[in-house]
Amino acid sequence: MELFQQITQFVISGLATGAIYALIGLSFAIIFNSTGIINFAQGEFVMLGGVMTIFSLNVLHLPLIAAIAVAVAATTVVGVVFERLAIRPLKNATPLALIIITIGASILIRGVVMLVWGKDTQALPAFSGNDPISVVGATLLPQHLWIFGVTVLVIVGCRLFFHHTISGKAMRACSFNRRAANLVGISVGRMVLFSFVISAAVGSLAGVIIAPLTMTAYDVGVMLGLKGFCAAIMGGMGSGLGTVLGGLILGTLESLGAGLISSGYKDAIAFFILLLILFIRPQGLFKKGETERV
């Protein structure tokens, strides 16, 4: 019985962490699908979401909802500026060069935040209190429900956007074949910008809703970014359910591994899974093999 109770706690904690990975993974996939690059500054969008909410709350004295809106909007602006200044001018750069640019951008963003807001870790108050909720013998916090809720909303929103709107369909077209999309009159440049907007917004939203639980500082983006990347790889870099499942599986395995095997190997488990998938199923866990991805 005790073991059962422990395992439910591991699974529930893991799912909560996994939902965060899933959100970050999604924002990785959105940019990858329209540009073919992996944006390693994604973790920094997550960090900006949290840090800016705290700034708006404590310095600008905005109410929580307004603070969140300001933070998401400001991060989106950072995403747009980043795309305009660093990605767009390099029309014919190879994906590798672009990826290195995103790494440079991540270091720059981290450095600026460190200089402007300092190095201290800060906490955001929980959205709806800190009283634990009991679920089949395990406990979770109201904030976890917020995370699950926002994750579901974002997934549904993405699904509707990508499959039922003209812009969304145009973005998918760009991911399948940029040249053909261009030929039928889709402005590829605008779609790339769009993808940065959505991805920065989703990333910063993830940063906001986890800040009350995990706290935030200028350097939280690195590890969260890597875990989100793992989730996206597990899902085959698709912007749908695969990445979400990837995140949830990763979170649960980490938590079970830490609880049942050894907490020292928690991150090793995550990265071992990543390597294994890259070796055995580079197209992702839930995808049929494709001959070519553009």
Partner: protein, 379 residues
């Protein structure tokens, strides 16, 4: 006319002579602090404090009429960089002594360099292996982890609790604490029933704490520096963990209470006396130093002085005393440092000797509990 010229000349040469006398070269002291990077929470207050103390010594006329010059370099918490900068201090800047580095890792890398060059090094890091075994020229001001562990175990023994779970961060600070916790357990009749770790950037420790909850431990000891322990405190509250939670001295600052929020209530930790200076009895030897340091830091930086800054305060003041006694040569300073007795600083009452370059006893720590977002002494 001739007379005027000669008077002017005499006056001029006198002026030159007097400025030459005024400008007796300052005594150069080097400092290596991790002002940026992951250990910046140590390096920044240390740098601030060291500069503040040196400025004040100079304002008061220097040491034996000579000014001190502090040359500070930022190691960024990188051991390779720390070694390069130590070489620079010794070879280019010709310092007579070095304060720092801030972390145990940096210090272990720099120690052989300073020792070989014969330059006294007063480290601000806590790891006990810095001064064990003793190196001729290496001293330290931060309290050993071993003393903090002893302070916690003493309390647990008093409360007749014998089964503990330990949860340590997987970095230098955590693994050093973990070693000490394991090494001293037997001496206090304590059994470690669960031994877990977490990563410095981990955001959820419920898995480890759930495991601990199932292990029948009577207390949890968490060894780490912010933000990990604050996450542990919040997760413990989430899980409704009913056993007492002890933290290390690594989180003994108001920042921890701020981060952990309500979850900080009732947590106990060993701390340098700087946190509770105003609660100390009047006859406490350190009280005067502590209050002076806190007041100074407050007026300079509009922030509360913590015990990390205190390590640098102790290092500068110890060097000042050693220069007064032993002169301005590295060898003289070293010998004078080693003979320091009963120096009541921020970290504790220092008594260096040929066999002990750490100089403190477990009285350097006092056990505090967090109540209503403030510290109280545990009796």
């Amino acid at each position: 006319m001739k007379k005027l010229i000669s008077t002017a000349f005499a006056a001029f040469s006198l002026f030159c002579l007097s400025t030459a006398a005024l400008a007796a070269p300052p005594i150069k002291i080097g400092a290596l602090f991790a002002v940026t990077g992951p250990a910046s929470f140590l390096g920044e207050p240390e740098r601030n404090t060291a500069q503040m103390v040196v400025d004040e010594i100079n304002k008061a006329g220097g040491v034996k009429g000579r000014k001190l010059e502090l040359i500070v370099y930022d190691t960024g918490g990188d051991a390779t960089k720390a070694v390069q900068l130590a070489n620079k201090l010794i070879k280019n800047d010709n310092v007579v002594a070095i304060i720092g580095p801030s972390t145990t890792g940096d210090t272990m890398a720099v120690a052989p360099v300073a020792d070989k060059a014969g330059i006294p090094l007063v480290s601000c890091a806590a790891g006990s292996k810095i001064t064990d075994p003793v190196r001729k020229n290496v001293f330290k001001t931060a309290q050993n982890d071993a003393l903090a562990v002893a302070r916690i175990y003493e309390q647990l023994k008093k409360e007749k609790k014998s089964k503990v779970a330990i949860l340590s961060v997987s970095d230098g600070f955590g693994s050093s604490g973990r070693e000490q916790l394991k090494a001293q357990a037997a001496a206090y009749g304590i059994q470690i029933v669960s031994d877990d770790t977490f990563g410095p950037k981990d955001t959820d420790m419920t898995a480890q704490l759930t495991k601990i909850r199932g292990s029948h431990a009577q207390a949890v000891i968490c060894w780490g520096t912010n933000p990990g322990p604050a996450v542990v405190a919040r997760n413990a509250k989430q899980l409704g963990l009913a056993i007492p939670l002890y933290m290390s001295h690594g989180v003994s600052s108001k920042k921890f209470i701020e981060l952990a929020g309500d979850a900080a209530e009732g947590i106990r930790l060993p701390s340098g006396k700087v946190l509770v200076a105003d609660l100390l009895p009047k006859n406490d030897k350190q009280k005067a130093s502590l209050l002076a340091f806190i007041k100074d830091y407050q007026s300079h930086f509009k922030a509360e002085g913590d015990h990390f800054g205190g390590h640098a305060w102790d290092a500068v003041m110890l060097l000042k005393g050693a220069i007064e006694k032993g002169g301005d040569t590295p060898a003289g300073i070293r010998n004078a440092l080693e003979s320091t007795r009963n120096f009541a600083g921020i970290g504790g009452v220092f008594n260096y000797s040929a066999k002990d370059h750490a100089g403190l006893t477990k009285d350097a720590f006092t056990l505090v509990e967090i109540k209503k977002k403030d510290w109280v002494l545990v009796k």
